[in-house]
């Protein structure tokens, strides 16, 4: 394994991601764990472990991103997820376009130029509508494991309409649909559709420039990609590790010689 020259940590609302890159900016090492309420302690332990595992000393730069970035005391630099996801994806996929990042707490649509610069972005409103939390809630209610909701939703062609994009209201809607005997598969499909419609509205705000790219934890859900393609009539590109793109972009920015392509 090549030597790690910089670390990037993405402290999200659902998971904490840590990525190490080598001098050429290749993703050399990564680790993900669920976010805990005591972020500061978790991050310290997480970093200690990563450093011990890879024989890294304190001089390796660390760039922090994500909602909890303010709590990463060891960070040499702190950058927002928008810039980091854009850098990560640009380096990974090699071109600009429209990036959709669906995270646990918020979703973003980011316009990236052919040179890799962020020129515009849109984020979901103050509520959890259009975020991973929306599906997480629904999965719990339907007693379907989170990793399974995508395949379950795709296993049927029947689809019920969920009119609410609000997480709380959608949950009440789901309860009454269950009471009316709708199948869990069709409800899950409807919930995905509702989320995607919300995302498509955000894409329109920024304006869709091909290709459409997807990052963030929710990108691992196959139904999301499929429905996004259906709704936008545009193929969606996915990096190898969509969930790591924020931490990867952060790590790239930690390299002495910026190799993120800017």
């Amino acid at each position: 394994m090549s030597k790690i020259e910089a670390l990037g940590i993405d402290v999200g609302s659902t998971t904490v991601k840590l990525v190490g890159v080598d001098a050429q900016g290749n993703l050399a090492w990564s680790h993900i764990e669920p976010a805990e309420p005591r972020i500061e302690d978790q991050v310290t332990q997480f970093l200690d472990r990563a450093r011990a595992e890879n024989n890294l000393d304190e001089s390796v730069p660390l760039v922090a991103t994500g909602y909890g970035r303010g709590l990463v005391m060891q960070a040499t630099r702190k950058v927002t997820e928008i810039t980091c996801h854009a850098r990560g994806i640009y380096r990974e996929l090699g071109h600009g376009g429209t990036l959709v990042d669906i995270g646990g707490q918020d979703s973003k649509v980011i316009a990236i130029t052919s040179k890799g610069d962020v020129i515009d972005f849109a984020m979901n409103d103050k509520c959890a509508a259009g975020t991973g939390r929306f599906l997480e809630h629904a999965a719990q209610r339907m007693r379907v494991p989170l990793e399974q909701i995508g395949p379950v939703a795709l296993s049927t062609t029947a689809e019920v309409v969920i009119s609410s994009t609000c997480t709380v209201f959608a949950e009440s809607e789901v309860i009454s649909l269950i009471a009316h005997g709708a199948s869990p598969e069709s409800i899950l499909r409807g919930l995905h559709r509702s989320l995607i419609k919300r995302i498509v509205a955000m894409i329109r705000t920024v304006g869709l420039v091909s290709p459409l790219m997807l990052s963030g934890g929710v990108a691992q859900n196959k139904a999301i990609r499929k429905m996004l393609e259906e709704e936008t009539q545009t193929p969606v590109m996915l990096p190898k590790h969509p969930q790591l793109m924020g931490a990867y972009g952060a790590a790239l920015m930690g390299l002495k010689q910026d190799l993120s392509g800017f």
Binding site: T80, E81, I82, T83, D120, T205
Partner: protein
């Protein structure tokens, strides 16, 4: 038998509380404030030297208000109302919107607005309306006490909410309400529209006279209009000094020092105040003092301020060398200055108040922002999508897109509320601001 105070006793009580005790106490307060060293900020210039005087002016205004019922007639008016007529009739004029803004800055809105919500007013209503109605129902206010109105004047040039808000107040106090209806202006106002408003102003005079118990003197009206014009012209010059690089004052400074131009128009001391402020701004330019110590990027602000987080946003942007240089909102009290004509107060008043920014098409605001971007050499714009101010926020989505496409500057839509912190998500606002600053580049 109840004890009735005589008018002489009331006047004496007013003079004692306001002129003998209150004003000297406020003056002393200002002197003490002038001696204190403000806490230095690593990113921002110290507050303007005039700040203690601004605070004194505002405190004095509310002190006079507190005892005004003992001494003179009181009118409550909307921010875009032709208050010159009332000033000329010697009304004490209170601006509930300013009061609510003050509650916002004092962070008392949630407590006071809840009183209105408990009485059945929806949380979807403007937070200014909820705050003032809450204050009226509960007596809660950070300024001590608000005077009871004898007359109300609402002008629809800022929004339609004022229509029913003021009707509710009129019903509560059982007092007359003068409504001035201003037809929407898409480009420039037609003669019919001006005549229509002019006639309403004419019709308002006898009502105001009856409440005042006095006749309107045309000489006094001319004088008040002239003072309004002078203050607005000075305010315009102060704003225009922001064209200087680096900008001597920021939009945040303008938010703090705009209270007199809104609620003390038509007074000689307001003209003096802005003359002094202009002088200080020019001194800052001469001495090379800038609002943001390391000004790197310059932005525009659209819509009302987020009153309860002024400092937070100023520091957040200042830390990255980003200065808010000009705003469509503070400019609203400057851009109309040339329209005031003291020789023709009624006709020019009709024209002036018809052309308030919120009474004009969204294309007008877009063109104004584009002009500001060119004139002030701006790098971007922040459009505050204000949950409470729908007329100001409508069209911002398209305006944002067109700023990006036509003027080539990035623009950020920031969701919040001018008064109610319950509609404000600090973490998300901070994140958007930071991402936007990163996007602006080095």
């Amino acid at each position: 038998m109840t004890y009735q105070r005589t008018p002489t006793q009331d006047t004496l009580r007013y003079q004692w509380n306001v002129n003998v005790i209150g004003k000297p106490a406020l003056r002393l307060n200002r002197w003490l404030a002038q001696l204190r060293q403000p806490k230095p900020s690593p990113y921002l210039a110290p507050p303007l030297n005039i700040t203690p005087r601004t605070k004194e002016l505002i405190a004095r205004h509310y002190l006079e208000g507190r005892y005004a019922n003992l001494h003179r007639k009181v009118a409550w008016v909307t921010s875009g109302a032709p208050a010159e007529i009332l000033k000329a009739l010697n009304f004490y004029v209170l601006y509930p919107e300013n009061h609510a803004a003050l509650c916002g800055a004092a962070r008392t809105v949630v407590d006071i607005a809840t009183e209105a919500e408990n009485a059945g007013y929806s949380r979807d209503l403007c937070s200014y309306a909820r705050t003032d109605i809450g204050a009226l129902l509960s007596g809660k206010t950070p300024v001590g006490k608000l005077p009871k109105p004898d007359l109300l004047m609402a002008c629809t040039n800022i929004c339609q909410t004022v229509l029913f808000w003021y009707q509710a107040v009129a019903h509560h106090f059982r007092i007359p309400l003068i409504l001035i209806d201003t037809p929407f202006v898409y480009t420039t106002a037609s003669d019919q529209a001006i005549n229509y408003v002019w006639r309403q102003l004419d019709a308002a005079v006898p009502i105001a006279e009856r409440v005042a118990g006095d006749f309107l003197s045309s000489r006094k009206l001319e004088q008040v209009t002239r003072l309004s014009k002078l203050a607005a012209e000075l305010w315009m010059q102060i704003i225009e000094r922001g064209k200087h690089r680096p900008a001597p004052i920021s939009v945040f400074d303008q938010f703090i020092h705009m209270a007199p131009i809104v609620e003390m128009r038509g007074e000689a001391y307001t003209v003096d105040f802005y003359a002094a402020l202009l002088k200080e701004v020019e001194q800052r330019i001469a001495k090379g003092i800038s609002a943001v110590k390391q000004e790197r990027k310059r932005l525009l602000w659209d819509n009302l301020p987020i009153w309860y987080r002024l400092r937070f946003i100023a520091e957040k942007l200042g830390a990255h060398g980003v200065a808010l240089v000009v705003s469509t909102y503070t400019n609203a009290w400057a851009e109309l200055a040339p329209m005031f004509d003291p020789k023709n107060p009624m006709a020019s008043g009709a024209r002036t108040y018809l052309h308030a920014i919120l009474n004009r098409g969204t294309g007008y605001k877009l063109a104004m922002m584009q002009k500001m971007i060119a004139d002030y050499q701006l790098d971007g714009a922040i459009l505050h999508s204000d949950r409470s101010c729908k007329p100001y926020s409508i069209g911002q989505m398209d305006q944002r897109d067109r700023l990006l496409r036509e003027s080539g500057v990035p623009a950020l839509l920031l969701e919040a509320d001018h008064g109610d912190p319950r509609a404000f998500a600090e973490e998300q606002v901070a994140n958007r601001l930071e991402a936007f600053v990163e996007m602006l580049g080095e």
